[in-house]
Symmetry: C2
Subunit: 281 residues, 2 copies
DNA sequence: TGATCTTACGTTTAGCGTAACAATA
DNA sequence: TATTGTTACGCTAAACGTAAGATCA
């Protein structure tokens, strides 16, 4: 029977051209490779090399053997990965969310209910979340609305309300509420990785520019040091004095006040059960 | 790295259902299989079984692993066969002939010239020979005519002339020569494995019936014991007294007097060189 | 009680590395 | 002389089988 280790030595030899270099690359001694090559010829029942006194090269059959060896090693690697991936999927709850805030509640609740499971979450746009859901590459999704599809379980579980934060000196600072059309045209500081919020802002305020910060520290510095308006919500845990000197003004548009839904296929409903009791503070 | 031996133990276990039966099937001890299954779990980095106190079964990951193992073992088997087949092809001269007689000269000559090579010959219809030639599944072909294709080497090397053999009492016994149209309508004894001759006879004598004998002994018995006409040629070595009491009458049609051509791709011309000097006795 | 799987133990052997050798450039 | 491949030798570690133990039907 073929031995994948031996085949790897063969392909390494084919790659390097000499037995010694192959040995070095694989951290084994040259004699070992010599023996393995001899053994491979026994196994294949064919001569694979042309041997000089001091030199060894693949013959035509050897070239075919190397080709087959490569395919086989690659297939073996895939098999290993396939099994590992499947096993991992059994021990992982994958969640695709349209926004970060719901995950702050969902992940701890799930970790508590399923301490042996690994959580894998990602924040993406609404269409991307739907794609994960349809391809079953997530067990659970979080969307800012009901899916309307009866083959999904839809559970409302959290509300998030958007406010704009402006310095006290800002034109809008005296307002007690605003709409997107009031805000349209102003430029905003925005965090990255905020899911559907970003597209929503761009859609609702087409005349505004958004300075998207990838780095949380830099974002906070800019909030403190600039007078650019930014956003917060009822769920945001704005640290310390981050918004000191700023006024929070609720945005009243319905698009700015969303109800999140847990969405999953019926077979994953157990996971939803573990978190649907959650109340926002 | 995966070990194909271990994977085979896995699939055997999957086939038999218990470790002990798998062990027996593979002629190894049960503890060995136990250890191998434990080792496979290490290698895959996943639990593959559900274990009772004295029972072991595949879990979902295990089923996937078995599936992958089967594919891999089958791929390994194919790889082995591919290499062996290629090597064999390097040591085999394959000849497709439209008739048996040319092989009586070609095979000994080639064996003499290439003592380390294995000869593989087969007798088939003219179209089948062409197919072998085009698909390069033979190194050399023997056809009853020139191919007219310039990308083939065509070497005329042998003539065969057909005669009909009838008992002295037969209607045709007095003739010194005949044509197919004279013979059309008579029924004939025929050997099997005579290549293009059979189709040729059927085409030239559509009103005749042919009693094709698969067994050489039975054929000869029928020749001796019946008065059915049969055929022979200048190349045939009709043993002993087989045709005693019969008259040989040459068939004069051009189709009955063929010149055989060695046909091969240019890269196989060396083989043709070894035999093109042959003269018929 | 017989069948099954696991663990423990002792042996064997197969594989490895070091070293020596032969040949080349 | 430095590099390469092969052969010889001795050792180690891995793998195996036997035996014993535990559990179930």
């Amino acid at each position: 029977m073929l031995d994948l280790n031996e085949l790897e030595q063969l392909t390494t030899f084919a790659d390097t051209g000499t037995l010694s270099m192959a040995a070095e690359k694989l951290n084994i001694s040259q004699p070992t490779i010599t023996r393995t090559m001899q053994h491979l010829e026994e196994i294949f029942g064919a001569s694979l090399f042309v041997r000089g006194k001091n030199r060894i090269m693949l013959n035509d059959t050897g070239i075919i053997a190397v080709e087959q060896a490569r395919q086989l090693l690659s297939a073996a690697d895939n098999a290993l990965k396939t099994v590992r991936a499947f096993d991992k999927s059994l021990h992982t709850i994958t969640i695709s969310s349209c926004a970060p805030a719901p995950l702050w509640y969902v992940l701890p609740a799930l970790s508590l209910a399923y301490p042996d499971m690994t959580m894998a979450s990602s924040i993406k746009s609404v269409p991307a979340v739907y794609q994960d859901l349809d391809s079953k590459s997530c067990q659970m999704a979080i969307l800012p609305h009901d899916t309307q599809y009866s083959h999904y379980v839809n559970i409302p579980f959290l509300q998030e309300n958007l406010s704009v934060c402006v310095p006290v000196s800002h034109d809008l600072a005296k307002r007690t509420s605003v709409t997107f059309s009031d805000l349209n045209g102003f430029n905003f500081l925005l965090n990255s990785e905020i899911g559907f919020w970003e597209e929503m802002c761009r859609a609702q305020m087409p005349s505004s520019k958004f300075l998207v910060q990838t780095n949380q520290f830099e974002f906070e510095e800019l909030v403190r040091e600039s007078s650019l308006p930014c956003f917060t919500t009822n769920l945001a845990e704005d640290g310390n004095d981050l918004l000191e000197g700023r006024i929070k003004i609720p945005v009243t548009d319905p698009e700015a006040n969303v109800t999140y839904y847990l969405v999953c296929h019926s077979e994953c409903m157990v996971y939803a059960d573990a978190i649907k009791h959650i109340d926002a503070k």
